[in-house]
């Protein structure tokens, strides 16, 4: 008996196929694969499996080229999360994922379900989440929707993480008009698991029960992944019903119940129901385990009566899991789920047929070859054109409309550099009591259990560099994450990437994608910083306007002893300030150029990966060796902004001489591979001697103390006044006041 579309279901027409996001040639591929017309349910399944979001059809070819292994990598890309060994029998599971499209349509729910989805990815592997981060990009602060989106997204991220009970310890938020119609919400979760207690998605054993766990299935989120694989247009508002609704309470219960049955040895395989819900989770479990799967949808716990097979297979209701259980432990597992008040239903079994069979109401609604559903998904080598290499700007020759002090005062209060306290105070960043360094620093440091170890965590990217020169921008994104971890004294171990780009069917967008990945790959290899998990989000376009290429990088590093990590604050007066790295004064694509001169142009600062590594390794050794009292990497806004951040953190001023000409290019240039350090006088001499021996350029450029920041010949600025400007921008903006 084969599956057939019933008379009450829509007939398969070219229009219906197109509505499912499948191109005519992709439909031909389906016909060839199964040798007949698909049923309505099968068409839905193909659409769910073969959309960009689930199949990576435009990106797979290029993702393969990225480095994903290292001796400490336990699990690379392809599972729910990547896993790295952090010693002492412990491992860290982590991943970043986007929820861009839903968050634009319905910011609160879009963001909550983004956080919920990534947390589920982590605890599906048996890891208890210990920290969340996020990378947010909003449209211009002048765009009429921006406040609404910021407010909803931030409340949503907090609403989910706070209730779930995981600290949100860091992230990055910035604004640019290219995100006006396509904001980015990238959420990252990090968990801990014992190396011998990791769980995987691959099913094993024939005839084993497949169990549905968690919340009931409703009609929400149907075709969510398909929506996430299309450009936006003026009708996108109508897609609001495809956004799922998050329930952090259920997820918290699901976490506790899952970890409890895992500890009891009940679980053979486990997969969360994320994008494309039941379809994707069941197919993955079967395909990865070389087994067939048979589902009986009559057993699926539903929120409302009368749901069709099509709806159940495509629902993206949240907080659901699929497991293959040890049949002997079914009762024990069920009791645990009942205790937590969660649904538990055996809805199918594993088979040896390699078929994906879906039954409902006594009929076979789908009968498809399970391996081919994933393996035979279209794969595109999309045409790409490289981004033209931009000209290097003559930075020293640029006009300086403002004195250094006035420019700095303005920069610390611009949207991208202003304090994001308004945001992170809405996130519980203190729960679990292990946040050694929370939001606002280079990287967060979260203690592992009772220490002394900790994890250094960061999420970063500089999209304007990626737009101007995708190769250099890709390198820089990785280098920046690596540097953030290094600046707190961590050893960077691995990263997760969230590749947000425009429409890959446009050769120039595909060119950005390919080149960014080239840069990312080069940097990962040079810095021994492999990619263990990730997500691709394409079609971030509205009415043909694409976002800046934004390959978000979430980095994880190991701090061997959290008592020896460094923060960015100047701590005491009379200490020497040292600059590591070379300053040419590179203003191309800098924040200064954009905010003070109103120009977004030129080549971005190049990243010399060999120097990057040498400088970072040197700085890390100093931090771990207890030589420095503060460390900070120099990035957006250059030296002057980095110094201001170090001064504002604890209200300790500084007097600094320009490392070169006393001009804007030197103070605000964004030359890469640089760090600022503070150290007691005696230590500073030792550092200079060590630097000379290591061949790393280090110079003493100033001294801490007082309540003003004095840069070269510029008028000294009261640190208190800088701080006020820095802190006030965002609350004032959100209250509807000044926008810049």
């Amino acid at each position: 008996m084969t599956a057939q579309t019933k008379s009450h279901e829509p007939a398969i027409t070219p229009d219906l196929v197109a509505q499912h996001g499948l191109k005519p040639d992709e439909y031909q591929r389906i016909l060839k694969l199964i040798g007949r017309e698909p049923t309505f349910t099968e068409l839905g399944i193909f659409s769910a499996m073969w959309n960009e979001h689930c199949s990576y059809k435009s990106s797979r070819l290029h993702l393969k080229k990225l480095p994903t292994s290292a001796p400490w990598v336990i699990q690379g890309p392809g599972e729910n999360a990547g896993i790295i060994d952090i010693g002492d029998g412990l491992a860290c599971a982590f991943k970043m994922e986007s929820h861009n499209h839903p968050s634009y349509i319905e910011p609160y729910q879009g963001a909550t379900t983004g956080v919920g989805g990534i947390l589920r990815d982590v605890f599906t592997m048996g890891a208890r989440p210990i920290a969340c981060l996020n990378l947010l990009r909003f449209g211009s602060v002048d765009h009429p929707l921006t406040r609404h989106l910021v407010s909803g997204v931030v409340a949503g991220i907090g609403g989910y993480g706070n209730s779930f009970g995981v600290p949100t310890v860091g992230g990055s938020t910035a604004f640019h008009s290219s995100y006006d119609g396509n904001i980015l919400v990238n959420a990252m979760a990090v968990g801990l698991v014992r190396t011998d207690e990791i769980f995987y998605a691959a099913a094993t054993g024939v005839g084993r029960p497949i169990v549905y766990l968690g919340s009931k299935t409703g009609r929400d989120g149907i075709h969510g992944a398909t929506m996430a694989s299309a450009e936006f247009d003026e009708k996108s508002e109508e897609k609001r019903p495809t956004v799922q609704v998050g329930d952090p309470f259920s997820e918290k219960l699901l976490l506790e119940a899952c970890l409890e049955i895992m500890a009891k040895g009940c679980v053979v395989a486990i997969q969360d129901m994320g994008a494309a819900g039941l379809t994707s989770s069941a197919v993955e479990m079967g395909a990865k385990g070389n087994l067939g799967i048979e589902l009986d949808l009559d057993k699926v716990p539903c929120r409302e009566p009368g749901m069709s097979a099509y709806e159940m297979m495509l629902s993206e209701s949240q907080e659901r899991m699929l497991m293959v259980l040890d049949p002997e432990k079914e009762e024990e597992a069920e009791a645990i789920f009942r205790k937590w008040g969660l649904d538990f239903a055996v809805i199918g079994k594993t088979t040896d047929t390699l078929r994906f069979v879906v039954k409902h109401g006594g009929e076979i609604k789908a009968d498809l070859p399970i391996k081919q559903l994933g393996d035979e998904a279209p794969l595109y080598d999309r045409p790409s054109v490289p981004t033209p290499k931009p000209q290097k700007l003559d930075s020293a020759a640029l006009a300086a409309p403002l004195p250094i002090d006035a420019a700095l005062k303005k920069l610390v209060a611009t949207p991208d550099l202003a304090s994001k306290r308004w945001i992170w105070e809405q996130y519980d960043h203190l729960i679990l009591g292990n946040s050694i360094q929370g939001p606002g620093g280079d990287a967060a440091v979260v203690r592992v259990e009772n220490g002394p170890k900790g994890l250094a965590l960061t999420a970063d990217v500089t999209p304007r560099y990626c737009f101007a020169d995708p190769v250099e921008g890709g390198k820089q994104a990785v280098a920046e994450a690596w540097r953030n971890i290094t600046a707190v004294g961590g050893r960077p171990l691995a990263l997760t990437d969230n590749l947000n780009f425009g429409n890959p069917e446009k050769p120039e967008i595909m060119g950005q994608f390919v080149a960014c990945l080239q840069g990312i790959g080069e940097a990962c290899r040079a810095l021994d910083f492999p990619i263990v998990s990730g997500n691709v989000s394409l079609y971030n376009e509205t009415q043909g306007k694409g976002i800046l290429p934004t390959p978000s990088i979430g980095g994880v590093g190991l701090v061997a002893d959290v008592t020896k990590s460094a923060g960015l604050a100047f701590r005491a007066p009379g200490e020497k300030i040292l600059l590591v790295g070379e300053t040419e004064g590179w203003l191309g694509q800098s924040i200064y150029l954009r905010e003070i001169l109103g120009r977004e142009e030129g080549a971005p600062p190049p990243v010399d990966l060999a120097k990057e590594k040498a400088h970072g390794d040197f700085v890390r050794a100093l931090i771990v060796g207890g030589f420095v009292s503060a460390a900070h990497d120099v990035s957006d806004g250059g030296l002057a902004v980095a110094l201001a951040e170090m001064a504002m953190a604890r209200g300790v001023g500084a007097k600094v001489a320009a490392p070169g000409a006393d001009i804007a290019a030197v103070w605000f240039g964004e030359d890469q591979g640089r760090y600022l350090l503070a150290a007691p006088v005696g230590r500073a001499d030792e550092i200079l001697a060590l630097a000379a021996k290591a061949g790393v350029p280090v110079a003493v450029i100033g001294e801490t103390g007082g309540d003003v920041l004095a840069l070269g010949g510029a008028s000294p600025m009261l640190v208190r006044e800088l701080l006020e400007a820095h802190e006030n921008w965002m609350p004032a903006y959100m209250a509807g006041g000044k926008t810049a």
């Binding site: 409340a155 907090g158 609403g159 706070n162 209730s163 779930f164 009970g165 329930d247 952090p248 309470f249 259920s250 918290k252 219960l253 937590w340 008040g341 105070e425 809405q426 996130y427 519980d428 960043h429 203190l430 729960i431 679990l432 009591g433 292990n434 946040s435 050694i436 203690r447 220490g451 959290v562 008592t563």
Partner: protein, 228 residues
């Protein structure tokens, strides 16, 4: 001292509370909300922070009616110590063990930050280790911490000296910008009539470690240990 920490579905700071109590020298156990009895010999019941039942309906409303709350009420009636932190405070208000209600924060946003509290009296089982009017640096993390009650209830709480902590700045100055949520009279925590039940919004359990912000929260747990 034997401390029983009640676990409701959605509690999430039970581990933080247990850590602080153990550091102070207490023996801790976790009690499931659906149980009817507290462990024998329980000196202190802790209702930890979190989002019991998702804070759906009203914060603490469902948990306040859980089976275990009968045992907690009996324990309190016998003079046993009860500490409710954050969601625990909300549950105490909903269960009738403390008066008043925690409304949404004044600016309608969840707020997590370090916060100073003034210790209003240091002669209770919860505060002996502090100095009178000491400004302690702890943390807050809540969306509904705005304490409200009828005027007569507030007058009674004030008259009986039952305000445990008030929001203040680092110098101990109460109120104004130091009030993070609009709470009446800057109230951060209150006692029961017999001073054996304390409900408070802030989290002393997150300030017990010099590496994680400071140790001003320890005094509360050390006081409890002395009391037992």
């Amino acid at each position: 001292m034997k401390a029983a920490i009640v676990l409701f579905p959605g509690s999430n700071r039970e581990g933080d509370a247990a850590r602080a109590l153990r550091q102070a020298g207490a023996e801790t156990s976790i009690v499931w909300h659906a149980d009817h009895d507290l462990p024998t010999g329980t000196d202190l019941v802790v209702l930890p922070g979190g989002f019991s039942y998702g804070d759906y309906l009203r914060c603490g409303a469902i948990a306040g009616r859980a089976h275990i709350m009968d045992a907690v009420r009996s324990h309190a009636a016998r003079g046993g110590l009860v500490l409710g932190i954050c969601n625990g405070f909300q549950i105490l208000c909903e269960s009738g063990l403390l008066p008043g209600v925690l409304m949404r924060n004044r600016d309608l946003r969840f707020v997590c930050k370090r916060q100073h509290l003034r210790v209003e009296r240091n002669d209770t089982a919860f505060t002996r280790a502090y100095a009178l009017h000491q400004a302690i640096d702890v943390a807050i993390a809540h969306g509904e911490g705005n304490y409200e009650a009828h005027d007569e209830t507030i007058a009674r709480l004030e008259g009986e000296g039952r305000v445990a902590f008030r929001y203040c700045d680092a110098s101990g100055k109460v109120g104004g910008a130091a009030n993070p949520n609009g709470s009446t009279n800057d109230i951060a925590g209150i006692y029961s009539e017999k001073f054996n039940v304390l409900g408070m919004m802030p989290h002393p359990e997150n300030l017990i470690d010099p590496l994680v912000g400071g140790i001003d929260g320890r005094g509360l747990f050390e006081s409890l240990l002395r009391a037992a």
